[in-house]
Structures are given as structure tokens and as C-alpha cells.
């Protein structure tokens, strides 16, 4: 099944005597200065029904992978724990957790009930000796257990960092196989951590650069199924897709949604020249946004929908520009050495991520929207195509190795430049696009 039904996902206060939400010392301010990960303890969630043992263990391990995977948290191995929880209600012995230098403790329980998984958890601040925030209970169908675990981890991440999480999210991308000169490509979807891989198309034709709709239920991408690059819109729930209208004799590609989901901005090539256009998703006349003999492509809306950042080689090489969403005179924002492409506006609106090509290397970088404070986060033979995590803290991108046996994989990196890692579970892949947080 392609659709994950998250039925009756309820966030319910558990505690009869709720602890005031407090801003205690248990807090990570995510800045470039954070280097030492916060040590946390996560005893295996207690199985509260006889049939919940495996589910409890699986959920615990996904929560740990989420938290530790950020690089901001470090799990204290369960073998070092002194206190054991026979029940979710067992009182916390703070001294036992202080003794092993835990700063945060997560205690949880899992029950199976009528085909549903019910998870409850509490987060404790060990040094101040109190619970952080209220306990919560979440329920979903058994098939959605990973989402439950991600949601628990999102709450914990959010309480400790003060920022929203990104674990309950998905990535749409291009799954790749076969030799370099006849690469087979198909659209695929997975959880942000690579679990739950599903294919959305077969590999009968080239596809690339998919993007989610703002609500995450549709994907827009470029396909060669007619023999020529065309834009197609796919509904994830039923995997039905339809081509957007085109002008005969042109190529259309690089589609992205506006933040309100009403427009698609894209590139149209005619007579060798590529410009930016936008068209209403539900039909209507295209609007031309640029009119130059240069290549204009890789557009990305600002989160407020007012502006579009894109790349153009009107200066002679690929550079980044920002224009009003209605078109009009663009302002160049990239001025460093090399070529700049694939700009993507951050969800917070303050940064633009990009691909930079310079001196035979490729980099993923970020800059402010006025072009200042450029920072390169990666360097390799070929890194390209950044996409933002829903909270704007992590960037995923494509890394391709060199040579005849080149492999292509998805990688992620913090915007601090730390915590570079491969998204291993999905195999060879390219062109990731991160969804919003799931509802």
C-alpha cells in the first residue's frame, strides 16, 4: 500500500498532575558552537500488553536512531543503565541517571489494542530532577508504527532544542540502477531515514527532479515518457499521474510548486532558449517570468510566495538571482568564484542553499538571501541538488562518485557543515526532495 493511514493519532495528556512546561537547563541551543552531543538515556519502552514486545523494541530503536542521527544527541548504552523500568509508572531514580551522566531520560510504554499501537512517553531532565513537558500518548495503526516513533522523537527534539523536528517526514527522489551510459531511473518515496521504500513509477523512461506539493500529497517531476522532457503531476495516494499542458515543439522541465500550491513555476525551452514561466496547477494560461537569451532554470519560491530565486547564465556563467514572483527585474545574489546553480529557499526564509562548482569540485553551500555569509558545507567530485529538512536545519543532496563505475547516493549534512552521512537504505539514488512534516 502506498498510502499510510494514520488513524486516530491523538496527542493526549497522560499525567494527572501535569508538570509545567519549563525552560530548564535541559536545552540545546543549535548554533555553530554545539559540538558535544547531549547524552541521553532511552531504556527500552515497556511492553504493556503481552503482544507488544517486538513493537516496543522496534519503536525504541527508531527513536534512538532519529535522535542520535542528528549528531546533537548521544545515547548512553542500555548496558550502562542502573535503573530498570518494570512499568511506565515506575518512579525515576534521578541519582541512578546522574551517576551515568545522562542529561535526558526518555521513558515509554507500548501497548497493542485492537490492531492499533498505543505509545506513551515522558521526558525527564535529570539535572533539574523533573519531568520536561507533559507525558503524551499517541496511537496509530500497527502499519504506521514508524511514524509513531518519529513523532515521539520529534516531540523530544522539539522540547530540548526549542525548534520543530523533522523525523516524521518523507523524501521523494530518483532511484537509480544500471550502467552509467544507460542509467535506469524511477521515482521513489521513502521516510526521511530511507525506510519504507516505495516506487512511484517504473524505469521505462528517464525521470528527474521531483518536488512535493506544499501539502506533501502530490509530486511534480520531469519525465521523458513522450520522448521529450515534460512535466507530470502525480497523486501519491493513488499513484495516478497526468502531464501538464505544453506548447508543441518545446521542452518543459524543472517544475516547483508555489507555497500556496496554486502555481507551478518551471523552465520552458523553445528554439534553444530556456526561460522561466509559471502556470496555474488546475489549468489556465502560462505566465512568462523571464525573457532573456540566457538559460533560466532551477526556480524556487520564497516561503511567503512573494519571490523566486533561480539560476541564470546571463552574466556568462551560472549565477543566482532573485525576482518578484510575478516576474520583473532580477537581482543577482551570488558573487563568489565559480558557478552557482540549483538554489533552494530555506523553509525559514533566511537562507538559500545551492550547488557551487569551482576548480573541478562541487559543493553544497548556503548563503543569506542577499548573498552574504556564503558557507560551503560539502566538497566532492559531484555534489548537487540540495533540499531542506522541514525545520531548515539539515540539507539532503545527491553525491555521485567519479569514474566508469560511478555510484550516486543521497547524503545529508547539517547547515553547520557537520554530521555528513549517507542515506544508505534507499540504494543508489539522486535528486532528493524533502517533504513538509507529515500531519
Amino acid at each position: 500500500m502506498l498510502r499510510i493511514v494514520l488513524a486516530a493519532l491523538a496527542a493526549v495528556s497522560l499525567t494527572s498532575a501535569p508538570v509545567l512546561a519549563q525552560q530548564g537547563p535541559l536545552r540545546i541551543e543549535i548554533t555553530d558552537g554545539v559540538i558535544e552531543p547531549l547524552p541521553y538515556a532511552l531504556p527500552g519502552f515497556v511492553a504493556e500488553t503481552a503482544d507488544a514486545g517486538k513493537m516496543a523494541a522496534d519503536i525504541t530503536s527508531v527513536i534512538a536512531a532519529d535522535l542520535s542521527g542528528t549528531g546533537l544527541f548521544r545515547e548512553i548504552p542500555q548496558s550502562a543503565h542502573i535503573q530498570r523500568f518494570a512499568s511506565f509508572e515506575t518512579p525515576v531514580s534521578y541519582a541512578d541517571w546522574q551517576a551515568i551522566n545522562a542529561q535526558a531520560l526518555i521513558v515509554g510504554g507500548v501497548a497493542m489494542s485492537g490492531g492499533k499501537v498505543v505509545v506513551k512517553f515522558r521526558l525527564f531532565d535529570i539535572y533539574s530532577g523533573q519531568q520536561l513537558g507533559e507525558g503524551q500518548q499517541l496511537a496509530a495503526s500497527a502499519a504506521s508504527w514508524r511514524r509513531l516513533a518519529h513523532k515521539v522523537a520529534d516531540v523530544i527534539y522539539s522540547r530540548i532544542t526549542g525548534e520543530s523536528g523533522y523525523f516524521d517526514s518523507r523524501v521523494v527522489f530518483v532511484s537509480e540502477s544500471g550502467p552509467k551510459n544507460a542509467r535506469a531511473k524511477r521515482l521513489a518515496l521513502a521516510d526521511y531515514d530511507g525506510a519504507g521504500l516505495q516506487f512511484l513509477t517504473d524505469s521505462s523512461t528517464i525521470v528527474f527532479a521531483p518536488r512535493f506539493s506544499p501539502t506533501g500529497d502530490k509530486v511534480i517531476y520531469t519525465t521523458y515518457e513522450t520522448g521529450f522532457p515534460r512535466i507530470k503531476l502525480l497523486d501519491i495516494a493513488n499513484v495516478r499521474a497526468s502531464l501538464l499542458p505544453e506548447v508543441p515543439g518545446t521542452m518543459t522541465f524543472a517544475p516547483r510548486f508555489s507555497p500556496d500550491g496554486q502555481w507551478v513555476v518551471y523552465s520552458l525551452e523553445q528554439g534553444g532558449n530556456t526561460d522561466l514561466y509559471k502556470m496555474p496547477v488546475n489549468g489556465g494560461a502560462p505566465v512568462r517570468l523571464t525573457n532573456s537569451p540566457a538559460i533560466e532554470t532551477a526556480p524556487s519560491f520564497s516561503p511567503d510566495g512573494a519571490r523566486i530565486v533561480f539560476e541564470s547564465d546571463r552574466s556568462g556563467t551560472q549565477q543566482l538571482y532573485i525576482m518578484p514572483a510575478s516576474g520583473g527585474e532580477p537581482t543577482r545574489i551570488s558573487f563568489g568564484e565559480g558557478r552557482y546553480g540549483t538554489p533552494v529557499w530555506s523553509p525559514r526564509g533566511d537562507l538559500v542553499a545551492f550547488t557551487k562548482q569551482h576548480a573541478g569540485r562541487f559543493h553544497i553551500g548556503v548563503m543569506r538571501t542577499d548573498g552574504s555569509e556564503e558557507r560551503l558545507l560539502t566538497s566532492s567530485f559531484l555534489d548537487e541538488g540540495p533540499t531542506w529538512s522541514p525545520n531548515g536545519r539539515v540539507i539532503m543532496f545527491t553525491r555521485q562518485s567519479a569514474g566508469a563505475e560511478a555510484v550516486s547516493n543521497l547524503y545529508s549534512v547539517d547547515i553547520s557543515g557537520r554530521n555528513l552521512k549517507k542515506v544508505d537504505a534507499v540504494g543508489q539514488a539522486s535528486d532528493p526532495a524533502w517533504s513538509p512534516l507529515l500531519p
Partner: protein, 173 residues
Amino acid sequence: MNFAPKAVALCALLALAACNNPDKYGAGNGVVDPGGTYGDGGISQGSINDPNSPAYFNATIGDKVHFLVDQSTLTDEARTILSGQAQWLVGHPQYAAIIEGHADEQGTREYNLALGARRANSVQEYLISQGVAGSRLRTVSYGKERPLAVCSTESCFSQNRRAVTVISLGAGS
């Protein structure tokens, strides 16, 4: 597992030139190729010794021209080859052509698609200037999706920065 509806039997629906689905390589993966054949536009190639054969066009005249890094300007060598292509096409009006533009891997995907389109268009314009009717020509870009040579050095990159004129049977034939 569900898949998006596959595009098969497109030939009946599409305009003539598109009938020869230029994504011949995509068809090499054991799946349906609406064009029916790989890379020959669905036509008999004939002998390279027969000046009227597509094989002669491909091998003796040369179906490919190459470009400098990030350029779509035709070199003198390219113009010589294209003049030969144009002469052949003028003399063989039963054929049409799809001009494929390609880029090397040293560029971002969507930019390279646009760059390949520029290259294909340069070839198309030159062929038209040499007397080939524009109605017989169509362009498509593959960007960096279909390299010919697979190493990651200039010796391969220079082969991949190319435009290929793919002959097919044209209207009324």
C-alpha cells in the same frame, strides 16, 4: 505494487516526429520501447558503403558533432560535418531527423538539460541554413543523462559534449 500508468502505444497518438521515441537508451533496459527499435529511428540502417543508407550518414558523414566546455557554438570541424549532413538530408527527402543535445557530467542536471537544448538548436539552425526544411527536424536534450563515454576525465567529457543527428523515416514515406 502500483506503478504510474505506463506510456505505451504512444506512436498512434503522437505527431510523426515524436513517433520515433528518442529515448532509445531508456528502452535498453528490457522495457517497452514505443519506437520499436534502438537508435535507428525504426528504419533499416543499410550498408555504410551505400551512400543512400542511414548507416553511411552515421558512420561516413558522421552523425555527431562536439562542443567546448559550457559552449554551444559550432566549431569549424562541426560545421564541416554538418554541411555533409545537410547535403545528405537535402538529397534524401524521405528522411527526417531528431537532433539530440548532450552535456558532460560536469554540471547540474537542469542546467545541463538547457545546455543540451542550446547545442541541439545550434545544429538545427545550421542544417536549416544549409537548406534542410525545418519541418523535417526536431530537437531534444538529454543533458547529462546519457553519456557516451563513462570515464570521469576530459577524454570522456569531450566525447559527451555532443549533438547527435538521428535519422528516421519522415512524412509520407
